[in-house]
Symmetry: D2
Subunit: 496 residues, 4 copies
Amino acid sequence: MTIIGHLIDGTIQADITRMQDVYNPSTGEPSKQVALASVDTVEQAIAAAQRAFPAWRNTPPAKRAQVMFRFKALLEQHADKICELIGEEHGKIHHDAMGELQRGIENVEYACGVPQLLKGEHSRNVGPGIDSWSEFQPLGVVAGITPFNFPAMVPLWMYPMAIACGNTFVLKPSERDPTSTMFIAQLLQEAGLPDGVINVVNGDKEAVDVLLTHPDIKAVSFVGSTPIAEYIYSTANANGKRCQALGGAKNHAIVMPDADMDNAVNQLLGAAFGSSGERCMALSVAVAVGDQAADTLVAKLKEAMAPLKVGAYSDRENDFGPVITRAHQEKVRDYINSAEADGATVVVDGRNPNVAGHEGGFYIGATLIDNVTTQMQSYQEEIFGPVLQVVRANSMEEAMQMIDNHEYGNGTCIFTRDGEAARYFSDNIQVGMVGINVPLPVPVSYHSFGGWKRSLFGDLHAYGPDSVRFYTKRKTITQRWPSSGVREGVSFAFPS
Amino acid sequence: MTIIGHLIDGTIQADITRMQDVYNPSTGEPSKQVALASVDTVEQAIAAAQRAFPAWRNTPPAKRAQVMFRFKALLEQHADKICELIGEEHGKIHHDAMGELQRGIENVEYACGVPQLLKGEHSRNVGPGIDSWSEFQPLGVVAGITPFNFPAMVPLWMYPMAIACGNTFVLKPSERDPTSTMFIAQLLQEAGLPDGVINVVNGDKEAVDVLLTHPDIKAVSFVGSTPIAEYIYSTANANGKRCQALGGAKNHAIVMPDADMDNAVNQLLGAAFGSSGERCMALSVAVAVGDQAADTLVAKLKEAMAPLKVGAYSDRENDFGPVITRAHQEKVRDYINSAEADGATVVVDGRNPNVAGHEGGFYIGATLIDNVTTQMQSYQEEIFGPVLQVVRANSMEEAMQMIDNHEYGNGTCIFTRDGEAARYFSDNIQVGMVGINVPLPVPVSYHSFGGWKRSLFGDLHAYGPDSVRFYTKRKTITQRWPSSGVREGVSFAFPS
Amino acid sequence: MTIIGHLIDGTIQADITRMQDVYNPSTGEPSKQVALASVDTVEQAIAAAQRAFPAWRNTPPAKRAQVMFRFKALLEQHADKICELIGEEHGKIHHDAMGELQRGIENVEYACGVPQLLKGEHSRNVGPGIDSWSEFQPLGVVAGITPFNFPAMVPLWMYPMAIACGNTFVLKPSERDPTSTMFIAQLLQEAGLPDGVINVVNGDKEAVDVLLTHPDIKAVSFVGSTPIAEYIYSTANANGKRCQALGGAKNHAIVMPDADMDNAVNQLLGAAFGSSGERCMALSVAVAVGDQAADTLVAKLKEAMAPLKVGAYSDRENDFGPVITRAHQEKVRDYINSAEADGATVVVDGRNPNVAGHEGGFYIGATLIDNVTTQMQSYQEEIFGPVLQVVRANSMEEAMQMIDNHEYGNGTCIFTRDGEAARYFSDNIQVGMVGINVPLPVPVSYHSFGGWKRSLFGDLHAYGPDSVRFYTKRKTITQRWPSSGVREGVSFAFPS
Amino acid sequence: MTIIGHLIDGTIQADITRMQDVYNPSTGEPSKQVALASVDTVEQAIAAAQRAFPAWRNTPPAKRAQVMFRFKALLEQHADKICELIGEEHGKIHHDAMGELQRGIENVEYACGVPQLLKGEHSRNVGPGIDSWSEFQPLGVVAGITPFNFPAMVPLWMYPMAIACGNTFVLKPSERDPTSTMFIAQLLQEAGLPDGVINVVNGDKEAVDVLLTHPDIKAVSFVGSTPIAEYIYSTANANGKRCQALGGAKNHAIVMPDADMDNAVNQLLGAAFGSSGERCMALSVAVAVGDQAADTLVAKLKEAMAPLKVGAYSDRENDFGPVITRAHQEKVRDYINSAEADGATVVVDGRNPNVAGHEGGFYIGATLIDNVTTQMQSYQEEIFGPVLQVVRANSMEEAMQMIDNHEYGNGTCIFTRDGEAARYFSDNIQVGMVGINVPLPVPVSYHSFGGWKRSLFGDLHAYGPDSVRFYTKRKTITQRWPSSGVREGVSFAFPS
């Protein structure tokens, strides 16, 4: 069976003391093994990155950007292969993997503009004859720890910009689906990056804890669940590192009575069930304002969900694939069961989908639950499966209050035609990413990604402008030259 | 004896269960008492700030700026009184207090520009018919914890911008010299700030811990010593807050052989002894490159130090005043003793200055120590007194290595005429604020203040552009309107 | 009779060879005389500005900003007097003059932030060891030529930022109402501006032509009518100056069927009749989409216009005052006559208002004309009086086409609740300043003001961010230091 | 003989009424013919661009950027061919053509970042419930008119950014060497640009005048000589277009006594003789401060010039090639003659170089002239040939005065090690692009290019940040939504 090793200092190396199976969720069978890095292996990766730092830091930003231009081209050239690798280990259908990859490539494009993005601020004459300017210098070695659900995209949120800014990088991707991540990192190497600038170690908590405590790691970017995000954030900070840690979500859409209902339904389908709902921006709760809107919404959703197809990643006709593990499949089923037990109405039931020929796969069909209330466990927690719950509210204010009361604040959306409603919503809602008739309001690569409340720990958001600030430290120089230099001729005779 | 209370919700209130003496360091006598806030008092302040937040947040930035314009005028009008209050409790001479206040006012001026500074980024057509923009919204209630050495300036680094951004504020100033801080906060109130937007609680660790753990505090800015900064940073972060914590310093100047030596000496005097060296940007180590430069430097420094006068704040002719406490006076003396014991040469000895008429004051005279080495305790630790140490290096590279090896990285300076030396230094030195022939490279208010290494914990620096980002959270909105609205005539019949 | 002279090099001087009457339009009587500058007088002003330039250019921006802080305070202190001066010569009612002044003060506030606004861009390592940065340096002497309708505000669009950027200034205000302009310039002088930095010359085309051709004038800002703007622009450019010239307008509001009609009517009243319609942003055409919307709009407008009061500036209860001259009064009447003759319906007729006690004043009452078509002269030309014309369109597309076909493109507005309509409108309409339910979409001072098509000649808009670029020239520095300097010890022996 | 036609609406078309020979300057023989566009042909190109505008304007910026990414790749792929085409018609040696092309590609890279560069400014709450933002919208059809000396680079300064901003383009390149320009435009087409977005018309003044007067041309960018630049600027402006017109230069280097003389000499060689001095940034005057510096400089230059080889473009060992035409060859010789006649010393004489095998080519050898004075015609005018003149000054101030007195202000440089001298120079010199030990201070693509005085007419510089502003017009939207919309339930009944 193939063993997935580590990329350290430009070379793939395995460290086979501890291994873990990697599954094909579409069949339910293990297909590869991933090496879990020891402390020593992680330290080797950090050491390689540390050695590579001085030369890379001194490479002009415009030269660093050239690597990113070539990296973009290689990613486009190998897109199909990458999507196949994602599909095999994650279960994502091709069009969905392609969407993920495309979003990742856009972050590489943004990093191509690093000479512009790194510009500091210059002030002539802050005082008589005194100039001052700020610069944004790289930190050194920085680390990324990324989740299974976007093995291509989330790492690409981090290291292209970190590296373009002059840092070197150690990435610890998810051990569930590491192959596409590793392949992409090798493409970056192929694009001309010097050895040691990008390093990838596979592993588990043992590896993570090295990254969180090693003195040569200057910053940590993390995406995962909220409890882990909280641990990462406080541990990294207590060890003197800067950290941004993105956690869980429960993204609500408010459906107003004046919404274009067909459009809303159409948008919600993709946002709720795409990628089996395993997205931190998945739209998992629809709050209908008024019973009439709710009834219409549920009826139209039910109808629209009928033709949805769950199945193996290898069939591009499927709408979405399996969830990541058998354990997670069970967990999602339990949430549906609990909602039902709590009195909610399971309108469309995906607990036992029939996926002919792939009975061992980890499938959950698209599920619609009505009459959910805020007291239910299935409402309060993140399900991370293809389950859309409908909550009914009597007013927009009540709907907004639900969202603000939830512990998470990642994304949210309103469906309306009314400018005033949209403006009030976007101004006041306590959520970091807001959609107006856009159910997955993931910011484009030249803006930044980040939730509020317990969805993100840190000051600065991921990718986009904030990432430039996160991956650099400000240096401010104040300069005054003494008089009587060569201009005035005094030092012509210097220093006899 | 006067009791200094708290400013909560627009009203001064005392909480006299626990009290502490406030001294006049120029005489060594206690002159007032400061109330130390209980948990309940701090919670009242937070509650007042929380109540004031919604209305203040919704006040247009341009209106919030009007308060800052008036605040600037009031600070200028009451400058002499503020300097007197600073002098009495801190010991600073009038010209030095005026300098501090002036720097503080400049931060208020910067906050006057908040409508410009809060601008978000707008993108038309991130996709077909889709627009996206980011906004920077206030956080809620934020806290500041400030040190004794700049009772006017450091609080003004924080709350003008925090408040101009739409936050409300709870300040915990130093209990050593709280009166000027309190007076200034009252001027802000007088400038038209609604009650509860600025609150000041005096206190000690009990008060601090409430600020670090209370769920309604969203961010903490701190300036003080490194051990406390580290505690503040990890505690605030572990409690889900953003935090910037500025700590200690050991600022070196490299004196190159081609320096304008008279200018360097002149600059060093103020930088080393001004405010008795009780500044986190004080220049406490001069590294002379080459023995010839070192000998010249020491000789000229000795000569230039002769006329320096230490004495009571009330005499404006003095160059600098006492240190803050008797305990601190002893500590500074101990550092000088230890340097001498370690083999350094005390060239000018300020351990026992004669300050006629104020024998009880906490005075240390200007002290110059030559032949200091990096192994000495007096080199490794922050003295925070009027003591300048000279270290000798054989090359610029060796001098830079000393600086980079030191745990602190706040400020540094090079004296040279040579453009290449200055450029190499500013590019490579591991220090956040760099001076070229500027020994106190404190950035102007429209740049940002922050050290590197263990001098600052956090991503974002204090005041200036970084403070806008620190005191706001990014919200990104993505907007697409459904077709078939009023433009296409569908709703022409509305609302018949 | 009072003679209004010139402010040159800090001193008021008259040049009484040629004089012109200044009227009080509320009474129709001349009240003062204004001196019309000779070529020689204008050249003296330019020479004074040229002399003042080097020192002012070298004054640090933060010091220049202090003058603006004081200027703002003085303007607020003297607001009532300024409004009285405006009213007397222009005819504007106090609340309207106060609004104008307030807008002007906001430009001074923006200029207070000049240290931030002047920041250049700094790039470390554009190549190995090479740095590059840009700066924005002042131009030298710049000129402003301003119209009668905003004697306080329009000059304040120009010279505060020009001067804050380090330029010196020669202003040629309107000779119809020069007193408030002159008084305000004197307040700037009182705020601490060095002599010669601001100069004001009153005059006519003779003065203008000196400004357009003199080699020491580096840039010209103009606001007035389109034919003059075009002359100014091409003449200034042909003489090697940069120029921005703002001209006429015909601002349309589209009223959609879903508009909040009461709100729209209320907004239109102020936008159409405020300041007697003598504003380049006056809303003079309402395009109603659909006859039902049109009928409702006209009926509600008629009702709402009934209580409007035209009268002397001295009565603060009046809604608006006279127009600027008897000739202009006739011209406005002629436009109403021509509309009527062309077949339009004069719904409310203000041609002969009764203003008891001020029969000699230049009054026109609020006038509403329905059934206007795009062929009518009164539609095609700028009336600049209190006349609102209603055009009927069958669709939003047709309404937008009218706007795009008009030669002017200053401001426009749509009244709707529909997000899609608003977005389509703001994206596509060929007009520089767009309101969504805002009939006078004058940008705030921290954005910039400018029309499209024949409403503005030049690349850069007035005030706000564009004005910083207009009043400065970019300088880009590229720097590399040779090796073997003092750092490497080579020049220790230099140059023996 | 090959005929070079026009690229209009995606198709090459010839218009053979008027033709002109294109020469190979290395042999002195004509090698192709270029069609000179008639008025009608230019109007067709404008019409094609106008038709292509609406769809291209509505293409999201991120999609437009994709074309630029592909364009960069194609330029790199075809670099050798492009250099051959440049060499054949211009005479440039391969390494020099490659340098030109590389600079051009960097402008394409900058245009890849257009989504970031087009961001507007967004302000929430400019008033209660009122938001405002600015956008930068494309102008429509814009034109570029470019010179012979950089047939690849200068067009790439213009159209990549103009097109990335959403405009469509008509380019009129030099009729001396149009083939590489045309080939590059076809690569852009191949990169996926829709037909009509880029159009190239070859021609002379007849074509230019159409571009300057046609109402559908909204902006003109020009690079060429100052008299033509002035004509272009005033004509375009008088026809209501925005215009930036870059003209001639006379770039001085000040050589200070403390300069690293070997480095200075080395730098000056390339800057003076590279591309036969046919560059607007060529360094054509060295001002030595002090006779000792001058003598050393001249001696070292003479020695370093000895091995320089002038010859045919086809031999990559040559240092530089011929000048563009026989007429220009004569003109350069005349300047050398006149300098000699005026009393200057021709130290190295390139008037009659021996280029074996290419006796018909338009060659001038590297020429060094000492003892030049500011009264000489050869000093006052731009030679545009491989001629370096040395002027002697007694002080830096005197040297700077020479530069400031010259009518041109494109580039300049100082050679020194002294920080103070460099700072004084860069702050005060009246030149737009300043080098410190950098003799060709051409800004990198992410800064902007532009001279001062009579070297540039217009407000905004070429390429870089200024080009974004030049190729877009600002639109400012102010938005307020009426209350009582769907949020408050009023339209709940809609649309029953």
